[in-house]
């Protein structure tokens, strides 16, 4: 389970882990925007972005290969299009396409690998993302593993009884139907549990942590670095 590893990473204690999620999220956006607007010809700039990311990964004490491997999940998609672009004769653009998608993926991963889900959702919320959306994100994430595991075991049960032979459309719809029913019941149970603990239709938020000078410094450094690379290279 991919997200379990990320979850474990996000509970680290490096200085990057300790930065305020808002600062990290803002830095991510700056990085992505700068990256996205870099011209394909500025190949040195891409190298510089990669170095910036490597430094950040190193300071977060995360395994660079593990992160890169996960970010490479985008490569099949971008490689296809890079190939198409290369075909049409634009080698630089093809290269830039692959680099941009990979580096962007890596940067996004770095955020979630140094910030627990509660952190970045709180940051989104402080930026006025709809509360309802934040709650749904948290619930989806919370039950992802539970329900995926249920689905997995149901598939196993079918495999045990030779589903590859006649495991047709009907089997699959049956599985999805039962999975749905169980999910629905679970949701009912959760709602009951919330009521039992005094829920009155509104989540009471816990207090946010203060934004410190170090966080502002971190963001400024990221901003300056990105802009310098973008303008100079």
């Amino acid at each position: 389970m991919h997200h379990l590893v990320i979850d474990r990473w996000s509970r680290g204690s490096s200085s990057l882990h300790q930065r305020d999620p808002r600062a990290k999220l803002a830095a991510l956006l700056v990085f992505l925007i700068v990256l996205s607007t870099t011209r394909p010809a500025a190949q040195w700039a891409f190298a510089a972005y990669a170095i910036m990311l490597i430094i950040a990964v190193h300071s977060a004490r995360l395994p660079i290969l593990g992160l890169a491997g996960r970010a490479a999940l985008v490569l099949p998609f971008s490689a296809t299009f890079a190939l198409l672009t290369w075909w049409s004769g634009d080698t630089l653009r093809a290269l830039a396409l692959a680099e941009k998608s990979f580096l962007s993926g890596m940067a996004a991963l770095l955020l979630v690998a140094t910030t627990p889900l509660t952190g970045w959702t709180a940051a989104l919320e402080s930026w006025r993302a709809p509360r309802m959306l934040i709650l749904v994100i948290q619930f989806v994430y919370r039950y992802l593993f539970v329900i995926a595991e249920q689905a997995q075991r149901m598939r196993w049960a079918a495999v045990c009884r030779g589903s590859h032979k006649t495991g047709g459309f009907r089997l699959a719809t049956g599985l999805v139907g039962v999975l749905f029913a169980r999910s629905w019941q679970r949701a009912d149970g959760i709602y009951h549990a919330m009521l039992a603990r005094g829920f009155r239709g509104r989540f009471v938020p816990a207090a946010p942590a203060p934004f410190r000078a170090a966080d502002a410094l971190f963001f400024s450094a990221c901003l300056a670095g990105c802009l310098a690379v973008r303008i100079l290279l």
């Binding site: 959760i190 009951h192 919330m194 039992a196 009471v204 816990a206």
Partner: protein
Amino acid sequence: MSKAIQIRGLRYRYPDGTQALNGIDFHLDAGESVALFGANGSGKTTFVMHLNGLLRGEGSIEVCSMPLSDETLEQIRSKVGVVFQDSDEQLFMPTVLEDVAFGPLNLGLSPDDALTRARTVLKRVGMAHALERAPYHLSAGEKKRVAIAGVLAMDPEILVLDEPTTFLDPPTRRDLLTLLRSLPQAKVVVTHDANLARALTTRAVFFDQGRIAGEGDVIELIQRFHWEYS
């Protein structure tokens, strides 16, 4: 002695037509512990859901001498803490600390007070080391402890436990038992486990098809209904 719970003639029918409760009379004295026995599908879980008004059937329910109604619902929910069978349903917040603080926050405590209370309770159930962890990474036994902590944080007068020991290995079970015994609250324990019932409670009630088929001393009731299987 004052009654913690007093129920008369409780009936409940699920929307699909299943008559799950069919006239239940029940009482619980303050500080007393009672076991609920009964076959699968006899209505124990349905009954338990009525104790804090999660389900609303016909009949009269009084908790701590307050009749259960829309006005008293909130107060009663803070007096009766239910620990569900499935901890995954009970632990819905992203971290252990937030989860346990959820109840106190809803009770109107300030965020600081709520967190303090959550910490105290988590220490009490032996989970103070896992404050920032996500509930889905915990083991079954740890989840159950956190679920109990979430309920204790509401400072209830009555604890209701629906099959608290399923999936737990014997040492974890023993620890849980020790914990439950150390809690002063009145308890309603739903269980299929005669050992657990004997260890925790003195009186028992036996459910059969939505009715109460027997009531009395735990040991005597277990014998009467052959409710042990070894």
